[in-house]
């Protein structure tokens, strides 16, 4: 028991961490305070060949189009030439922050994202862990394949299914809840604004959990099987193995995905909110990307839409860098 209960350092993580600490000061480990000398560059020429072409790619395909950000400071008209555009400084941003709808939209976006982080993030992990416990490989494969099927069903169809299920006119949810005595009358859940976030989160989990679990399943597959043998020898039961080998084994993956998810907090998309929403719950269903669509693109206000895009990018970057730092301070290493 003691071998792997050792102060919570897991086998997998333990070996890595120890190795990293040990090798930090050897050649391969040294990372800080390296001078970029020509000698070093030639020494690492293979690494250069393997990375610099892509840096060039990044500049061409990602940085060059950023000139489009200037649109956010103009009153962009697709018709007029670049040099003839009217510059308006921060007007678009001022318009944005003065709009009450914008703050409402931010609240909705963040609210749903937090729920997604708490539930939508953890459930695929739990699912992957449990899936790993299925002994028969055949059943494991079958369950895993079925679990990701909803990912391929478009939101249009899923929204339709959800609406039918929640309807007061023979919808399953109402029938079950009434039979269980929780409800006494038919309740149209979709008309209740405060339930909307819950409905969205639940639908999203239903649709995406299976697909999202794939990365964790792959991470679990990378865990050295010998660790389990050793643990079994030490007398650990399956649940303990899961808790002390599997879970720590995928901890690096979890941390990476968590940090990156923090960066995507403003990117909830708009499809599911648009499809599951209705005029009665609009105050809770309108999200940032929907707002951009309605008040930016569909109104041909490109400058406004670009300003929001800029805002999203900056906020996302700041958030992800903060999350990265926190992860680093907590000893998980830098993610980015």
């Amino acid at each position: 028991m003691k071998t792997f209960y050792n102060k919570g350092i897991s086998y997998r993580g333990g070996i890595c961490m120890q190795n990293i600490i040990r090798t930090k000061n050897t050649n391969l480990g040294a990372s800080k305070k390296q001078n970029i000398t020509v000698k070093k560059l030639i020494e690492q020429k293979y690494l250069l060949f393997m990375s610099l072409p892509f840096v060039i790619w990044a500049f061409v395909f990602c940085y060059v189009p950023l000139w489009g950000w200037t649109m956010a400071f103009q009153n962009y008209r697709p018709a007029t030439k670049f040099s003839e555009q009217k510059w308006v400084g921060l007007k678009q941003f001022k318009l944005l922050f003065a709009d009450d709808t914008f703050w409402n939209v931010m609240r909705n976006t963040l609210g749903m994202s937090f729920l997604a982080l708490i539930f939508g993030f953890t459930i695929p992990i739990i699912f992957a862990l449990l899936l790993n416990e299925i002994k028969s490989t055949r059943y494991k494969k079958i369950v895993q394949t079925i679990s990701y099927l909803p990912h391929f069903v478009s939101w249009v169809i899923v929204a339709s299914i959800v609406t039918t299920m929640l309807s007061t006119d023979g919808g399953i949810v109402n029938i079950v809840l009434m039979k269980l005595g929780i409800l006494h009358n038919n309740v149209s859940l979709l008309t209740k604004p405060t339930y909307f976030w819950g409905i969205i989160t639940a639908s999203d989990i239903w649709k995406e959990a299976g697909w999202g679990a794939i990365i964790y399943i792959a991470a679990i597959a990378g865990i050295d099987q010998e660790l389990y043998e050793a643990a079994k020898v030490d007398g650990a039961n399956r649940f303990q193995q899961m808790l002390h080998i599997t879970l720590p084994g995928i901890k690096p993956t979890i941390v990476v995905l968590l940090v990156l998810s923090v960066g995507s907090i403003l990117n909830t998309g708009f499809e599911k909110q648009m499809l599951l929403g209705n005029p009665l719950v609009i105050d809770y269903s309108r999200v940032l990307d929907l707002y951009v669509l309605d008040y930016g693109i569909n109104m041909f206000r490109y400058s406004f839409g670009t300003a929001i895009g800029m805002f999203k990018s900056v906020v996302s970057l700041v958030l992800v860098l903060i999350a990265n730092n926190i992860a680093d301070k907590l000893g998980e290493g830098r993610v980015l």
């Binding site: 250069l48 393997m50 079925i146 069903v153 597959a221």
Partner: protein, 300 residues
């Protein structure tokens, strides 16, 4: 492989129950879609179809495949081509980049990662991207499907973090044997990353298979550029009613309103057509991350 005694633990039962629940809940929407795709569209309007078609018909599929606008072979071929080629280049590129970033001694590591972090959350927009493709002469070229999406930094990070967890002793010993960085990368590190590479390949392949927006924007509507999803999306769009106001005006003015086949049935059939190839290919990918690996053999 007879087990001596099959002890069924409580834990196993719990897991089984949960799994059965998950299977039912996730399988249902898909079966529903299959059932609706085989159901006569006029009957579908009545609603109430859940697990199997009420009025079986192949009509929805026939409707799609016999559509004179569907260049099935060409579109299918292009879809496969861009999926295979795109996935290949993306995976190789992401792996190479990931390796350089996993090497803590790489002098340009910080610079490179900074460059790429920004790309994840920052974009110029539809018009600047379009103009870029135009200026690079990528419009109407097959490479517009490969190049712009070459590196997804998210993928790189995932691969890199996996590489980080490999014991450095492996690379050290290879270096002592005289191998250069590229050899270490290709012969030692890469084979150990198979599960995560399989995952990234899956993500990329599905992305390529499903994409149609880039075909729409950059494809110049050329036959050589079209792909399956795009063609199907066009068919789907054509079955939706034109906007309400246009309909009113058209009705007023005597135009023959062509009642489309219920777009719902077509939607379902299209979903199935697009998903089935993925399902067929998937088992071959699955084996790379379902069964565990033993690192022990590689150690030392």
């Amino acid at each position: 492989m007879k087990k001596i005694r099959k002890k069924i633990a409580v834990f196993d039962v719990v897991v089984m129950v949960i799994m059965v629940y998950i299977v039912i809940v996730t399988l249902y929407p898909f079966i529903n879609v299959v059932a609706l795709s085989f159901n006569d569209s006029n009957d579908t309007v009545k609603g109430g179809i859940y697990l199997w078609p009420r009025v079986f018909t192949l009509g929805n599929y026939k409707e799609i495949f016999s559509n004179p606008n569907l260049p099935l072979v060409r579109a299918g071929f292009n879809s496969v081509l861009r999926t295979v080629v795109g996935t290949f280049f993306t995976v190789i590129s992401c792996c190479m980049l990931a390796y350089t970033l996993s090497r803590r001694d790489y002098v340009l590591r910080k610079f490179v990662s900074m460059v790429f972090v920004v790309t994840m959350y920052v974009g110029g927009g539809m018009i600047p991207s379009y103009l870029l493709m135009k200026n690079l002469h990528l419009l109407g070229s097959f490479w517009v499907y490969i190049l712009p999406g070459l590196i997804g930094y998210f993928n790189v990070i995932v691969i890199r973090s996996f590489m980080d967890s490999l014991p450095p002793s492996l690379q050290e010993s290879a270096r002592l044997d005289g191998a250069n960085d590229f050899v270490i990368f290709s012969k030692i590190v890469l084979p150990l990353c198979i599960p995560v590479i399989a995952t990234v390949a899956l993500w990329t392949a599905v992305g390529q298979w499903n994409s149609w927006f880039d075909t729409y924007l950059y494809g110049k509507d050329l036959l050589s550029m079209t792909n399956l999803q795009y063609e199907l999306k066009k068919i789907l769009d054509s079955t939706q009613a034109t906007s309400g106001q246009t309909q009113t005006a058209l009705a007023r003015n005597g135009s023959l309103i062509i009642n489309p086949v219920s777009s719902d049935s077509i939607k379902m059939a299209i979903t199935i057509i697009v998903t089935v190839p993925i399902l067929l290919v998937y088992p071959f990918v699955q084996k790379y991350f379902i069964t565990g690996m033993t690192l022990g053999a590689v150690k030392g």
